[in-house]
C-alpha cells in the first residue's frame, strides 16, 4: 500500500514538474515578441561570403539600413559553406533575433535553414540569391540574372563579332544565379555558330580562383578572343591572368555584378562590359521588409525581381558606387 502512495507521489511530482516546465517555455516563447521599451530588437544578416567586395556592400547596406530603422543588426559570414550557414542559423535562432536577411549559399541546401527559422517564428528575407522554394522565406528580392545575361550576350556578339573563341568562367554550381547567367548568355551566343566556347569551368565566384583557372586554360587555348565571367570578382581575376600573360589588350572580358573596380576598368577600356545588379537597392528593401514584418505586416510578394542593367564604355558614366550615378 505504501508503495502505491509512493508511486502516486512520484507521478504527481513528475506531472507538476513537466507542467511547470511547459508554462515556463510558453512564457519564454512569448517574451521575444514583446521586448521591453528600452530593449533594441535584433536583425541578423547572413551573407554567403565576405571575401568579395560586392557581398560586403550587400551586407553592410542591409546592416546600416536596419540600424537606421532602429534595430541592432549583426552580420554573419557563411564563407560560402552551407555547414557554416547552418551553424549561423542555429546561433541566430538561439539568440532572440526578430528577423533574418539571408544571402544563401545554396539554392537547395539553404531551404532547411529557412524552414527552421520559419518554424521558430522568425521571418527570412532572401537577397540576391534565391532558394528553390516559395513556401519557406517570407520574401525573396532577387537580381534578374537571366535578363541581365541576355543583354550581356547581345553586347558580347556586338563587341566580339560573330566569329571567335571564348572561355566561360562559371560561379558556384549550387547557386541558381550561376546557371541563370550562363543560360541567359548562351541563349544569345549559341545562336552564332562562329562563336566557339573552348572551355567552361567553375571558379566559384572567387577572384583568386578566376585567375588560376584562366591561367590554366590559356596554356591550352592561347588564342581566345573573349572571356565571359559569371561575376565581377572572377572578371578581375581573369583580367589579372591576361595582364600577366600580356594579352589584356587582345581579349575582351565580360563580368556581372557592377562592382566598383570593374566599372572603373570599363571606363578605362580594360573590361568590355558588366551587368549592374544594384546590391544596395536589394539590401535596403530587405531591411525595410524586415521592419514592416516586425511591425505587423504579413502580405509580402514571394519573389521580387530587380532588373540588371548593361554597363559598357558608352554608358559607364551613369553608374558608380554599386548603382546609378544619379542615386537610383
Amino acid at each position: 500500500m505504501k508503495m502505491h502512495y509512493l508511486k502516486l507521489a512520484i507521478a504527481f511530482a513528475l506531472v507538476a514538474t513537466l507542467t511547470s516546465g511547459c508554462k515556463q517555455n510558453s512564457d519564454e516563447s512569448k517574451s521575444p515578441d514583446m521586448p521591453k521599451p528600452d530593449e533594441q530588437a535584433k536583425i541578423a544578416i547572413v551573407v554567403s561570403t565576405l571575401n568579395n567586395p560586392w557581398f560586403v556592400v550587400l551586407a553592410d547596406t542591409a546592416r546600416d539600413r536596419a540600424k537606421e530603422l532602429g534595430y541592432d543588426a549583426e552580420i554573419f559570414d557563411s564563407q560560402n559553406d552551407p555547414a557554416k550557414e547552418e551553424a549561423n542559423f542555429e546561433n541566430i535562432l538561439a539568440s532572440g533575433y526578430k528577423a533574418i536577411i539571408l544571402n544563401p549559399t545554396d539554392a537547395d541546401g539553404s531551404i532547411a535553414n529557412v524552414r527552421k527559422a520559419k518554424a521558430a517564428g522568425i521571418p527570412v528575407f532572401c537577397i540576391d540569391r534565391e532558394i528553390n522554394a516559395t513556401d519557406a522565406a517570407t520574401s525573396q528580392i532577387l537580381s534578374d540574372s537571366y535578363s541581365g545575361a541576355v543583354a550581356l550576350g547581345q553586347n558580347f556578339v556586338k563587341q566580339v563579332g560573330e566569329q571567335g573563341q571564348y572561355v566561360e568562367l562559371l560561379g558556384l554550381v549550387g547557386d541558381n544565379n550561376t546557371w541563370n547567367r550562363s543560360k541567359g548568355f548562351h541563349s544569345v551566343v549559341d545562336r552564332y555558330p562562329g562563336l566557339k566556347m573552348v572551355a567552361q569551368q567553375s571558379a566559384d565566384f572567387d577572384r583568386a580562383k578566376g585567375m588560376e583557372v584562366l591561367e590554366s586554360i590559356l596554356q591550352a587555348h592561347p588564342d581566345i578572343n573573349a572571356v565571359f565571367c559569371g561575376n565581377d570578382a572572377m572578371a578581375m581575376g581573369a583580367y589579372q591572368a591576361l595582364v600577366t600573360d600580356g594579352k589584356a589588350d587582345k581579349v575582351k572580358i565580360f563580368g556581372f555584378d557592377g562592382s566598383d573596380d570593374v566599372v572603373k576598368l570599363i571606363a578605362d577600356g580594360k573590361i568590355a562590359a558588366t551587368g549592374m545588379q544594384f546590391p544596395k537597392t536589394m539590401a535596403r528593401k530587405a531591411a525595410e521588409f524586415a521592419d514592416q514584418y516586425i511591425k505587423g505586416k504579413r502580405d509580402f510578394e514571394q519573389k521580387i525581381p530587380v532588373s540588371v542593367e548593361l554597363v559598357t564604355k558608352e554608358n559607364v558614366d551613369q553608374y558608380k558606387d554599386y548603382g546609378k550615378a544619379s542615386g537610383g
Partner: protein
Amino acid sequence: MNRAAPILIAIVVLCAGIWLVPLVHFVPLKSARQHSTEATFNPSAFAETFWSERLLESVDKAVDAAVLLAEIKQDPKEAREKHGRTLGLSGTYYYFVSGTGRILTVDKESVSLTLGAKDSTVDIILETGNIFGNAVRDGTGLIDVNNYPNSRDFNDISSEINRRIEERVLPSLRAKAAVGATVHFAGCAEISNETTDLHPLVLVPIVAEVQ
C-alpha cells in the same frame, strides 16, 4: 493470464494501427517514375499550352499602338502607370501593344511600320531576327514569377516562347513583308531606356498578319 492480457491487447491495437496507417507504402516502379516525371517542370509543354490557350486569346487586351504612342507623347510617366508592366523593383518595364500599320522598310532583322495612312514616320519596329529575352513572358502579365520555386524554370519559359515566335510568326512575316503592305500586329516592347525605346516601339511580335 492477468499479465498477458494487456500485452496481447497492446499488440492487437498496434497491428490494427499499422494496418490502418502503414509506415511503408509499396508502389509499382512504373507508377513511381510517372509521379516523379509529373513533379518535374516541363517548360516546352507549359509554353505550348500557354501559347495556344492563353497568349493568343489575350491579344484583345493589348493596348492600341496609336493610342499608346499618343499618350506617351503627352506624358510618358502617366502612360507607363496606365499601360506598362513592371516586374518587381525593375527600372525596365513592358508594353503589350496591338494595331495596324503600313510597312516602310524591310531589313535583315526587322520590319518598320508607320501607323499614319500617309505618314513616313517610323512608329513601330517588328523584330524579325533571333528573339531573346523576356519581353513576351513579362510583357503580357499572364505569367506570375511567384508561381515558380526555381527561377531557372521561369527563364526556360521565355526560351520556349521565343522559339515558338521564331518558328510560327516570323517566317510568314519575313516572306510576305513588302514596302507599302499593311500589317496587323500584336507584340511586346521592352523599355529599358526611355530616351531611345519609346518611339519607335520595338516589338517582339506574337501576331503579324500581312494583308
